[in-house]
C-alpha cells in the first residue's frame, strides 16, 4: 500500500509548529498507484464496453427467476385478496410494511453518500456514490411495491393522489400514509434526478468512446448532448451542490415520515418521539450495510481495488459502527422512557418486546444491530474483507428484524388483552419478499452492465492531476 507523508510545517507558521510538534499526518490517497485520468476512464468505461461476461448472464437469469416470485405473489394477492398474506386483526400490517421500511431504509445510504457527504466535503465518497445511488433508486422501487400492494383494493390506490374526480372527494392530508405518498414519491423522483444528472458527463464519455451504432445513439440520447464545456460544468456543479443540499433534508425527512407511520399512531411502543432520529440512524446503518454487501463483491469482480480502497471500507465500517451504536442507544432509551413514563401500557409494550411472544425476533435484532457492529472497533476485523462482508449481511438481517419487532410486537399485544393475537407469515409473504431481492438484483445487474459504475469526472477531480495549480497548495 502506497502512502505519502506530508509535512505541513512549511504551510503553517514554523515557530508554532515547533512549539506544538504535531504528529505526522499520513494522507492516504483516494486513488491508489498513481493512476492517470485515462486509466480511470478505461477502467470504468471498460466495464460497460466489455463483452457481457458469462457470470453476469447466470446472475441475471437467477435474479430474474427469483424476481418472478414477487410477480407471482402479487398476481395471486391482487386476484385473491390480502388474506393470502398472514395479516389478521390485530396485526393488520404484517411483512408488507416491515419490508417497505426495510427497503426504504436501505435506500438511504445512496443519497446520504452523494448528498450529505458531498456537503461535508468527504472526498472519499466519489468512488462509491454512483453505485450507492443506484442502490437507493432500486431499493426505493422495491420499497414502493409493498405499500402499494398491501392495500385491499390496489386498483383504487390512485385515490391517494390528489387527482380531481367525479366523486368530488380528496385525499386526507392528516394521515402519515398520505405524507408517505409525498415523501416516498419525492424521494424516488429526486433520487432518480440526482442519479441521472450526475451520470450525464459519464454518459457523454461513453457516447464519445462508443464504437457500435446502438451505443452511440443509446448513450447519445441519454447524455443530452453534454459537451464538457466549462459553462456546463459550472451550472452542473451548482445544480449538483443544490441537489445535494436539497437531498440532505429530504433523506432525513423521508425516514422521519416513514417513522411517523408508527409514531403518529397511538399504540404503545409506537407512539414515541424518539422514532424519527432512531429511524434515520437505522436507515443509514442498514444503507451502509447494503452498500458494503454490494460493493465488496463488485470490487473483487472488477478489480476496483485502486478506486475502492481500504480507506473507503474503513470509513464505511466506522459509519456502521457509529449508527449501530446510535440504534443501540435508541433501543435502550425506549426502555428507559417506557419505565420513566410510568404508563403501564407503554411499559408492558417494551417488556413484551424483549421477553414476550416475539422475544426471539428482539434478540436477533439486538445481536445483529448492536453487538455485531461493535466488532468494527477491531482493526483486525475491518481489515478482513470477507468478515466485513458477512457482518454487513448481519446488519441487513438485523435491520429487517428491527422493523418486524416494532411493527408486530406492538400490534400483537396492544391495549386490550382480549384482542391480543399472533402473526405469522404465509408462503406468499415469504415469496413476495424474497422475490424483491431478485428484482433488486435484476435492476442492479442491469445497472452495472449498462451504466457507469462510478462518476469518472468526480473520481478524477479528487486525483492530484485535477489541480489547476499543478499540485502545489
Amino acid at each position: 500500500m502506497s502512502s505519502k507523508v506530508t509535512d505541513q510545517s512549511d504551510v503553517i507558521s514554523p515557530e508554532l509548529m515547533n512549539k506544538v510538534k504535531p504528529a505526522k499526518w499520513e494522507e492516504v490517497p483516494l486513488v491508489l498507484n498513481n493512476r492517470s485520468f485515462h486509466w480511470v476512464t478505461e477502467k470504468i468505461c471498460g466495464i460497460v464496453e466489455q463483452k457481457t461476461p458469462t457470470w453476469w448472464w447466470w446472475c441475471f437469469i437467477t435474479a430474474l427467476s427469483i424476481a418472478s416470485f414477487t410477480g407471482l405473489g402479487l398476481v395471486y394477492l391482487v386476484s385473491t385478496g390480502v388474506g393470502v398474506w398472514g395479516n389478521n386483526n390485530p396485526v393488520n400490517w404484517g411483512w408488507a410494511i416491515v419490508n417497505f421500511v426495510f427497503w426504504i431504509g436501505i435506500g438511504h445510504a445512496g443519497t446520504l453518500i452523494s448528498a450529505v457527504l458531498c456537503l461535508l466535503k468527504q472526498k472519499w465518497r466519489t468512488s462509491i456514490n454512483r453505485a450507492s445511488e443506484a442502490m437507493t433508486v432500486f431499493a426505493v422501487i422495491c420499497a414502493g411495491i409493498f405499500p402499494l400492494f398491501h392495500v385491499g383494493r390496489v386498483w383504487f390506490a390512485w385515490w391517494l393522489f390528489p387527482i380531481p374526480n367525479a366523486n368530488a372527494i380528496w385525499p386526507q392530508f392528516r394521515s402519515p400514509l398520505e405524507w408517505d405518498v409525498f415523501a416516498v414519491s419525492t424521494y424516488a423522483t429526486v433520487s432518480i434526478l440526482f442519479w441521472y444528472m450526475g451520470m450525464i458527463p459519464d454518459l457523454a464519455i461513453i457516447r464519445d468512446r462508443a464504437k457500435e451504432t446502438w451505443r452511440k445513439y443509446f448513450y447519445g440520447v441519454l447524455a443530452m448532448g453534454w459537451r464538457n464545456a466549462n459553462n456546463h460544468w459550472r451550472n452542473f456543479e451548482m445544480a449538483y451542490l443544490l441537489l445535494a443540499g436539497l437531498s440532505t433534508p429530504l433523506v432525513l425527512s423521508v425516514h422521519t415520515i416513514v417513522s411517523f407511520d408508527f409514531a403518529v399512531a397511538n399504540l404503545p411502543g409506537w407512539h414515541t418521539t424518539i422514532f424519527p432520529p432512531y429511524f434515520v440512524a437505522g436507515a443509514i446503518f442498514s444503507g451502509f450495510g447494503m452498500v458494503l454487501t454490494l460493493l465488496l463483491p463488485l470490487r473483487a469482480i472488477f478489480r476496483l481495488h485502486d478506486l475502492i480502497t481500504e480507506k473507503h471500507i474503513h470509513n464505511m465500517c466506522k459509519i456502521i459502527l457509529a449508527t449501530g451504536s446510535m440504534v443501540g442507544y435508541a433501543y435502550a432509551m425506549e426502555f428507559f422512557i417506557a419505565w420513566y413514563g410510568a404508563n403501564s401500557y407503554e411499559g408492558f409494550a417494551f417488556i413484551n418486546r424483549a421477553f414476550g411472544n416475539y422475544w426471539w425476533a428482539y434478540w436477533i435484532m439486538v445481536s445483529c444491530n448492536v453487538i455485531c457492529p461493535q466488532l468494527f472497533w477491531f482493526k483486525g476485523i475491518i481489515n478482513n474483507i470477507p468478515l466485513v462482508w458477512i457482518i454487513s449481511i448481519f446488519v441487513n438481517i438485523g435491520m429487517w428484524f428491527e422493523r418486524f419487532v416494532i411493527a408486530n410486537t406492538t400490534l400483537s399485544r396492544d391495549f386490550l388483552p382480549s384482542s391480543w393475537g399472533y402473526y405469522s407469515p404465509t408462503v406468499v409473504d415469504l415469496f413476495t419478499f424474497f422475490g424483491t431481492f431478485g428484482f433488486f438484483s435484476v435492476l442492479f445487474l442491469l445497472f452495472i452492465r449498462f451504466l457507469p459504475l462510478m462518476p469518472m469526472a468526480e473520481v478524477k477531480s479528487v486525483m492530484p492531476a485535477a489541480d489547476p495549480h499543478g499540485g502545489k497548495h
Binding site: 392528516r174 409525498f182 440526482f194 448532448g225 459537451r227 452542473f236 436539497l246
Partner: protein, 179 residues
C-alpha cells in the same frame, strides 16, 4: 459546404489550460469556451465568468412547491370538502407540514435540474464542437480551448497563433457542415 465555427487548441494538463485561459481572457476574447474532463477548480474566475444562476431556479421551484402544497391541502381538506377528521382542524400549518416540505423539495429539485438544463441549453445533441476530431478526448484526459468565429476579436490567423502562444497543442479549425 462548411461554416467555420472556431479554432480549438488542446492542452494536456489542468494547469496549462488554467494558465492559458487566463491569457485568453486577458486578451479580451468574449466568445470562447474551455472543454475539460473535470470541473476545474477556479476556472470560472480565470475565464471571467460569474456565479451560476441555477439557484434562482431552485428558489423559484421551492417557493412554488411550498405554495402548491399549502394550496392543495387547504383547498382539498378545508375549502372544497371540509370533513371532520379525528377532531383535527380543517386546515393548519402544522399537520400537513410534511406535504409542504416534500413538495418544496420536489419542486426545488425540478427547478434545479431543469434550470441546469435550461442554462446549459440542453438537451442539444448537435453542436459544431462535436465536429472536432478529438473532441472525445476532452471527456477523458485532454483539455481544450475553443475561440469562436463569432468573437469580435477573432481573426483567421491571429487567433490560432495566439492559441499556440499560450501553449495550445494541435490547433484545429472547427468547421460545421451545412446542407
Amino acid at each position: 459546404m462548411n461554416i467555420k465555427y472556431g479554432v480549438a487548441a488542446t492542452f494536456n494538463s489542468a494547469k496549462s489550460l488554467f494558465d492559458a485561459a487566463g491569457k485568453v481572457r486577458e486578451e479580451g476574447y468574449k466568445e470562447w469556451e474551455c472543454y475539460t474532463p473535470i470541473p476545474v477548480h477556479g476556472l470560472d474566475a480565470q475565464m471571467g465568468i460569474g456565479r451560476s444562476k441555477v439557484p434562482r431556479f431552485t428558489l423559484a421551484g421551492g417557493i412554488t412547491g411550498f405554495c402548491t402544497g399549502m394550496l392543495i391541502v387547504w383547498y382539498m381538506n378545508a375549502f372544497d370538502y371540509p370533513l371532520i377528521v379525528g377532531g383535527k382542524p380543517y386546515f393548519s400549518m402544522i399537520y400537513p407540514f410534511p406535504v409542504f416540505y416534500e413538495l418544496t423539495i420536489l419542486f426545488a429539485a425540478f427547478g434545479t435540474l431543469f434550470g441546469m438544463f435550461f442554462l446549459n441549453r440542453l438537451p442539444r445533441h448537435n453542436h459544431p464542437i462535436f465536429e472536432h476530431p478529438s473532441f472525445g478526448r476532452t471527456g477523458d484526459d485532454k483539455y481544450m480551448i475553443v475561440i469562436e468565429v463569432e468573437d469580435h476579436k477573432f481573426d483567421d490567423e491571429a487567433t490560432p497563433a495566439f492559441l499556440k502562444d499560450v501553449g495550445g497543442k494541435s490547433i484545429t479549425v472547427i468547421r460545421e457542415p451545412v446542407n
